[in-house]
């Protein structure tokens, strides 16, 4: 016989995974929107943002209720505080996916200059990071979490390369300067999404070991 608290914790876990699934879909949609110039996907990513916000509030309420009513300790407390931290990062990823989609919508109709190889690579790398961080959360896998944390360097490098590439592009053809700046912003968004994925992975490690960034906090 499972008690109410366990049932609630499981529901929390399921909600978190669903929110993870939502941000994965949102970011995948915005990347499709970016690479294929597909406005429909862009729209979907923007729609998802609202759902993600709603989900964040729902999980937040759930966490606070659990903290108040059950006064959890040890692992349970870690699980709930991890949830509270993770949803913030997830929500930011959702926002950034929507932001990327908005830029893509604005770029629609303009000349497609997306020959920035590194930007595509960045898109792939970031979605991989997000997927893996959610996978790590689902499997409660510290090894996978650390892989995500390490992979951030790759995304950072790609960002720097994209930046150089875009600066070079602006210098050679200043007519499309505005679009290049937009692309630079998209690159920055990807870089930020990578950082949020790292945050998620770090909190996953915390929920397992009680250590955040190698510091014992709980």
């Amino acid at each position: 016989m499972r008690n109410k608290f366990d049932v609630e914790l499981e529901a929390l876990n399921t909600d978190l995974i669903e929110m993870g699934s939502m941000i994965e879909t949102a970011i995948a949609s915005s990347i499709t929107a970016l690479i294929q110039r597909d406005l429909h996907s862009a729209e979907r990513a923007i729609e998802y943002d609202n759902e993600i916000d709603e989900m964040e509030r729902r999980i937040e309420r759930r966490c606070l209720k659990l903290l108040l009513q059950q006064q959890p300790v040890a692992t349970d407390l870690r699980t709930i505080s991890t949830a509270l931290k993770i949803i913030t990062d997830m929500e930011r990823i959702g926002d950034q996916a929507a932001d990327i989609s908005e830029i893509v919508t604005r770029l629609a109709g303009e000349k497609d200059l997306l020959e920035i190889k590194n930007l595509k690579k960045m898109a792939e790398a970031t979605i991989k990071m997000v997927n893996q961080s959610i996978d790590a959360f689902v499997a409660k896998d510290p090894v996978l979490s650390n892989e995500v944390i390490a992979y951030d360097d790759v995304v950072d490098d790609l960002f720097n390369q994209s930046k150089t590439e875009l600066i070079h592009a602006i210098q050679t053809d200043s007519r499309y300067g505005e679009q290049f700046v937009d692309l630079l912003m998209i690159a920055k968004y990807f870089e930020r999404i990578g950082d949020h994925a790292v945050n998620i992975a770090e909190w996953v490690v915390f929920s397992i070991t009680g250590q955040h960034k190698n510091q014992k906090i709980l």
């Binding site: 499981e10 399921t14 995974i17 669903e18 993870g20 699934s21 879909t25 689902v138 499997a139």
Partner: protein, 574 residues
């Protein structure tokens, strides 16, 4: 049961003890009081007898009165009611006793008794009076409260007795309860053993329990059989589910996995070491379209299906509602289907494009001629172009027809021994002018002159012709093409090597697709249709052979065809 039994026993004991004590007390009281009254009466009679007729009656009364217990009150009343003597009160203060009930009765009948509140001693008292011979009355009395107090003294002992009885009955009740319950318990404990045995019910300690044991035994057997049937069913279902190629997941109303086939886990590339049964679907697979579909199915109770691309593979999901709540998810890998569909679509668009190009040229020039805009020398060159494009069209249609012929070659495969040397030389001969025009040397080598392979002569001709044709077309000027036919183990190997331009590595997978061209601009110039290697591939497949390509860009290509030297199905009629 044990508690109740104990409570009932205790209650009984308590009631019995109390009732006994109470009635004993009552009886005791009544015996005691009547004994006390009798004592008074006896004493009075004795005293009366002693003092009767004595001259100094008053003194005698005083003497006897002193011999009696202190709580006895002795009075002597004259016949007119005047009190002559009293042990407890002074006679002067006492009023006339002539109307006291016991005195009146004594005067009349010789003796009398009464229970009354005494004013002089202010207590309830028992009086007994006897008439003496001189007409005076001797009266003895005792206060009743002394009777009661004697009785009261016994109450603590009675209570103590009751308590002791209760204490004893506590132990006895407990023991009795245990005695009664124990056999039931032991029967329950031994139930399993009893159920296993055959004629055990008699062993039950109470025969009243035997029917129960028998009934339980029957039910037990029934349940066992039922469980066995269920298990067998479950096993059948599990075997079915676990052995199916397609993935199957059964979810309950809250998306918890009730059952999942191994194939579903491997199809979705999930971790095979994780036990997904009992977990939420999301832990297995995070897919928003799937969640949406499940929700839709839940609401409408109608099956839904959709296709999703995950990690480069296509999956088709069928979601159908379960009877009560929850859904079945059926997953198939549609990757090859989607690829085949893509190829079909590409083929359709390619074939129309290939057909349209020459036709555009032809219609263009004929239109010009129709309008009389071509004259003199132009007419000749226009006719040349029209002729060339028309031939291209014919070649193309021939190729397509041949390809579809090979592709659709079903039914009986009529294989005859085909002399490879003759076929190869025939093909080489017809291609020699083309080779010579670009100064390409064409050499042939045969391990044995009489080498034959079972097959379809026309197809094998097409195969060799196309291989050589390609080798010449995609060669450099002054290059060389060599074809060798050798016997290798149980196959015949036909090897065509050229010194041509080679095939880039990332195109190797696709060169056998219809209309696929490595370099589109070049093909136009060489006049290829893009179907040659496709024909080769199908011809090799038709003969049950194998095809391999070895190519280095800029150096050359070597294509090897291995054909079975004796027919795979030769021994059995096809």
């Amino acid at each position: 049961m044990r508690k109740r039994l104990f409570a009932i026993l205790m209650l009984c004991c308590t009631i019995v003890a109390l009732v006994t004590a109470f009635s004993a007390a009552l009886l005791y009281y009544s015996f005691y009081s009547s004994a006390a009254k009798a004592e008074i009466r006896t004493n009075t009679a004795l005293m009366a007898a002693a003092i009767n007729g004595q001259s100094d009656i008053l003194t005698q009364t005083g003497n006897y009165a002193r011999l009696l217990p202190a709580n006895f009150r002795v009075s002597l009343v004259e016949s007119d009611g005047k009190v002559l003597y009293d042990t407890d009160a002074s006679i002067e203060t006492l009023e006339n006793h002539a109307h006291r009930a016991e005195i009146v009765s004594a005067m009349d009948v010789g003796s009398g008794e009464a229970v009354r509140f005494s004013d002089s001693i202010r207590k309830e008292a028992y009086y007994y009076a006897v008439r003496l011979s001189d007409g005076s009355v001797l009266r003895l009395s005792v206060p009743l409260n002394s009777l009661a107090s004697v009785f009261l003294h016994t109450i603590p002992y009675l209570l103590l007795l009751v308590l002791i009885l209760l204490f004893v009955s506590l132990g006895v009740s407990r023991w009795l309860t245990r005695r009664v319950v124990e056999p039931i318990n032991s029967t329950a404990m031994r139930l399993e053993e009893l159920l296993k045995g055959d004629a055990i019910p008699a062993e039950a300690e109470y025969e009243e329990l035997s029917p129960f044991v028998r009934k339980i035994k029957a039910l037990h057997q029934e349940i066992k059989e039922y469980v066995q049937t269920l298990q067998a069913n479950q096993e059948t279902i599990n075997t079915l589910i676990q052995n199916m190629q397609e993935g199957l997941i059964l979810l309950d109303g809250s998306n918890r996995i009730l059952n999942i086939s191994k194939s579903a886990v491997s199809l979705l590339a999930a971790n095979p070491r994780v036990q997904y049964t009992g977990k939420n679907l999301l832990e297995l697979l995070r897919s928003q379209p799937l969640l949406d579909s499940i929700r839709e199915t839940d609401e409408t109770h109608r099956g839904t299906s959709f296709m999703e691309k995950r990690d480069g593979r296509y999956y088709r999901y069928f979601i159908s509602p379960a009877k009560s709540s929850g859904v079945f998810i059926f997953i198939t890998d549609a990757t090859s289907e989607v690829k085949a569909e893509t190829i079909r679509r590409e083929f359709a668009s390619n074939v129309s494009h290939e057909l349209k190009t020459p036709l555009t040229a032809i219609t263009g020039f004929t239109e010009l001629m129709e309008n009389g805009m071509v004259s003199g020398n132009d007419l000749k060159s226009a006719a040349t172009i029209i002729h060339r494009e028309a031939s291209r069209l014919i070649t193309l249609i021939d190729d397509i027809l041949r390809l579809s012929q090979i592709e659709n070659a079903t039914g009986t495969k009529e294989f005859t021994p085909v002399p490879l040397k003759a076929v190869t030389e025939e093909a080489a001969e017809s291609l020699r002018p083309a080779a010579e025009s670009r100064q390409i040397t064409l050499s042939t080598f045969f391990e044995e002159d009489s080498i034959t392979v079972p097959g379809n002569r026309t197809m094998l001709y097409e195969l060799i012709y196309n291989l050589l044709d390609n080798a010449i077309k995609y060669n450099v000027d002054k290059g060389s093409v060599s074809i060798s036919v050798r016997r290798e183990e149980d196959s015949i190997a036909i090897r065509v090597a050229d010194t041509g331009i080679g095939i880039p590595h990332d195109h190797l997978d696709r060169i056998f697709e219809r209309f696929y061209r490595v370099d589109k601009s070049r093909s136009k110039a060489t006049g290829g249709t893009g179907l040659g290697l496709s024909i080769v591939k199908h011809a090799v497949e038709y003969h049950g052979g194998r095809l391999s390509v070895n190519s280095t860009e800029g150096i050359g290509t070597e294509i090897t065809v291995l054909l079975p030297s004796d027919l795979p199905g030769a021994s059995e009629p096809i």
